[in-house]
């Protein structure tokens, strides 16, 4: 999910702790902000530190004015083949760089793992701006537009879609040898490993407690909670997407698969979570500081929480959700509007526009069982119920 979603989720869980809310209102305490900071910290660690620590086996940094997609596809296929010869649990890593050719201009290209045909496809697109607007007439000639190379092992691509590379920094791919002999594509393998583990969160919580108790800060016993619960929520919410986390690093070595419940950049789920968090924060403000003085009381203290959530969250978002679903359905009926003009060549390949004689349907992605996906939601419900039931005493 977006950074602000994690940040405000962290703030939201911190507001369930009565001592912190009363401390904020009466003594101008700022401890609640720690919830937000630790709610976002896993991504901070990954994107500001761990990404630079990664050692890649192959770095592809093509000349933007002379891209050779066939060579690139062959190099990547070779890495997949090498990964197939590794011991289970070992990985080969390939870094693809973005190609900046102007202050706001990039040479776009894309990569697609066609697992049905055992092929790596590299497609070169036009020059695009950071936000993806193409420059007409900059598309490569047909002989330099697509590169295709075969690989040998059985490849599992849980993402299952083409990746366009056109701005910011480029992605990296890990090719992980599995016990059954297959090779799994691991998208940005440095992400959601140690920085998204419960063990590191627990370590931060312990450190927080030691510092707070050493300096004799008030409510020292709450610091571990305001650090660990937001951290945990970050990992939990991330798990709802396509990528999972490495929960017990360093005991566990690999990232798990996500629950495929939501998309991380969804224009529906991000605002929904942010809005719901704000609604819960306001609820906690009312029940904790409203109890201190009627000046701060907006709703009667005996208002049932279910009624509040129904009227303030469920009803408006059910309407929004209905509008969103109808809109999505209408867009699907007109696929021309779905495909942005910026879609790179790999996306075009996947859609069958460039190489129609081949079969490039996107393979069905392996998804976790239904019970596991329900369990993920149940964990969230349990955390919120526990916070609601016991936070008033903490």
């Amino acid at each position: 999910m977006k950074g602000i979603t994690h940040f405000i989720t962290g703030i939201m869980v911190a507001t369930f702790l009565k001592s912190l809310m009363v401390g904020a209102a009466v003594e101008d305490s700022l401890v609640i902000v720690l919830g937000g900071i630790f709610g976002l910290l896993p991504d901070t660690i990954d994107f500001k530190f761990l990404t630079y620590m990664e050692k890649n086996d192959v770095v592809l940094d093509p000349d933007p004015y002379d891209i050779r997609p066939q060579e690139m596809a062959e190099k990547i296929a070779e890495e997949i083949n090498r990964a197939g010869e590794l011991r289970p649990g070992q990985m080969r890593k390939v870094q693809l760089h973005t190609l900046k050719i102007g202050p706001d201009l990039w040479q776009s290209y894309g990569i697609y793992f066609n697992t049905r045909m055992n092929e790596v496809v590299i497609g070169v697109g036009p020059h695009v701006t950071m936000s993806g607007v193409p420059s007409p007439g900059t598309e490569p000639p047909a002989d330099k537009a697509v590169g295709v190379a075969k690989y040998r092992p059985k490849l599992i691509d849980r993402y299952g879609r083409p990746s366009d590379i056109k701005g910011f920094s480029g992605p990296s791919f890990g090719f992980l040898k599995k016990k059954d002999g297959s090779v799994e594509v691991v998208f940005i393998p440095w992400h959601r490993r140690s920085g998204h583990s419960l063990t590191l969160g627990a370590l931060f919580a312990l450190l927080g407690y030691l510092i707070a108790s050493t300096f004799g800060w008030r409510n020292a016993h709450l610091y571990p909670l305001v650090i660990f619960i937001p951290w945990f929520m970050h990992i939990l919410i991330d798990t709802y997407g396509h990528m999972g986390n490495n929960l017990f690093w360093p005991l566990t070595k690999q990232r798990t698969s996500g629950l495929y419940l939501v998309s991380a950049a969804s224009p529906f789920w991000n605002p929904f979570v942010v809005y719901s968090c704000i609604a819960l924060i306001l609820w906690n403000m009312n029940r904790f500081t409203g109890a201190l003085s009627p000046m701060y009381l907006a709703l009667p203290l005996d208002t049932p929480v279910w009624l509040y959530l129904l009227l303030v969250v469920a009803v408006p978002w059910a309407i929004m959700g209905a509008i969103y679903v109808i809109y999505q359905a209408r867009v699907k009926e007109r696929p021309a509007e779905l495909v942005a003009p910026t879609a790179g060549a790999a996306a075009a390949v996947a859609a069958g526009e460039l190489m129609e004689e081949r079969e490039y349907e996107i393979a069905e992605r392996p998804r976790p069982p239904l019970w596991l996906r329900f369990l993920g939601l149940a964990v969230l419900a349990v955390v919120l119920i526990v916070l609601y039931s016991y936070g008033g005493g903490w």
């Binding site: 977006k2 950074g3 602000i4 979603t5 940040f7 405000i8 703030i11 809310m21 904020a24 209102a25 009466v26 101008d28 305490s29 700022l30 609640i32 902000v33 937000g36 900071i37 976002l40 910290l41 901070t44 994107f47 500001k48 530190f49 990404t51 630079y52 620590m53 050692k55 940094d61 760089h97 973005t98 900046k100 706001d104 701006t129 936000s131 993806g132 607007v133 910011f168 920094s169 480029g170 950049a265 969804s266 224009p267 991000n270 605002p271 942010v274 306001l282 403000m285 009312n286 500081t289 409203g290 000046m295 701060y296 009381l297 907006a298 709703l299 809109y327 509007e337």
Partner: protein, 439 residues
Amino acid sequence: MESLIYMAYALIGTLMGSLVAVLPGFHVFNLAAIGAVIFVSFPFVSPLGLACIFIGLLVGWAMVGTIATTFMGAPDDSMRVTVFPNQKYLMYGRGYEASVVTGMGALGSLLLLLVLASFASLVFPAFRKLVTPHTHWILMGIAAYVLQSEWPKDWGSRAKTRLGRLKDGWASLSAGWLVFFLSMMLGFIVLNMPVTPIDKTFQNILPVFIGFVTVPWVLTNTLSRVTIPPQTVSNTCYVSKKDVARGTTSGFLGGIFAAYTPIITAGVGGLLAGHSTATGGDTQFMVSGGAGRFAYFVGAFFLFWVPLLHLIRGGLGWITSMVYQPKTVSEFWLLVAAIAISGVFAFFLLLLFSRAVIKVIGRFDYRKVSFAVLLIAIGIVLFFVGWHGLVIMTIAGGIGLIQVMFRTRWMNMLIGFFFPIFLNMAGVGAAVARFLGVC
């Protein structure tokens, strides 16, 4: 009949505000302050009539202000969120289209404000009760998020070693922290110490903003020898309904949040709302910027009129409160009507003035225009603050240049500058100032 006269006042204000909006660097609050001073000496209209003129001034300025941003590149903070796409469009010869798209966002924001008006007296007073004792940590949380959520801009480091890559990635991040720190020090000095004559203290912030925004813009324009391509005035623009809907919603939410929350500006509100609603792309960015600016300025004044709220936010609210206090619900609805009529009028003025400005800038060297903007800005600072202001402007300009050179987030300057106020609200401002030796 009386209501119609008030609407006429609002339209006159709209025309004046729109004209002022075309002048880079000149803020509508300055004009309103002059108007209030004249009114005290010569009450040329009723207090409510003056308030209606002010409404028009603000609406015109908020809507038409995109012209200065797009064609003359002298944005204030509220426009900073849109400045890159608008100026990109200008460089593609599509400045007029950028103006129109941004104006569409402002119109959308106007519509949402009208919807909000129907339940504003229910929502805002309740919201105020809840949030008041928690404002300090909310502001501190925003500052923490702005700093923590800036990601590296190394565009994929090619360094061979881990340390080399880390250094590349942290070049812009550490510059961002430096900008924040320097802005905070400037904030401590400007906001806490008597650096300007006492009678000019209320204008302390003016040279800071001109230094942060206008000075780096003029210098980079001059040094980069930028030339403006011929501009196309087309009758259509490339924007989808989805972009308008998402951009407007995001900008409106950010603008209203900034209007309600003390110290937070439209730029910061826009950033938060943009992240929350996963807004992306140049078009949504421009629509969102127009919507945010409108919601921020007009929304702040709107709050002043909301029945049972008793809240003054924004410069115009304070200026108006010296001569007029809204008392009845009917006055609130008069304001809503004035905003609606002025908003539509201002949108047409935006189209008209954009065409006029295109004709003007085509005749002059852009570097000379930039230089003229700098001279106007210096003149304004000298007039309102004096030579002390020029010193502050120069320092702020230096900080602004660091931001431009290292492509750090602009918000760091703003959040840094106002950070001393956040610290004061949390009760630790004096201690930090003592620690830093700036008190």
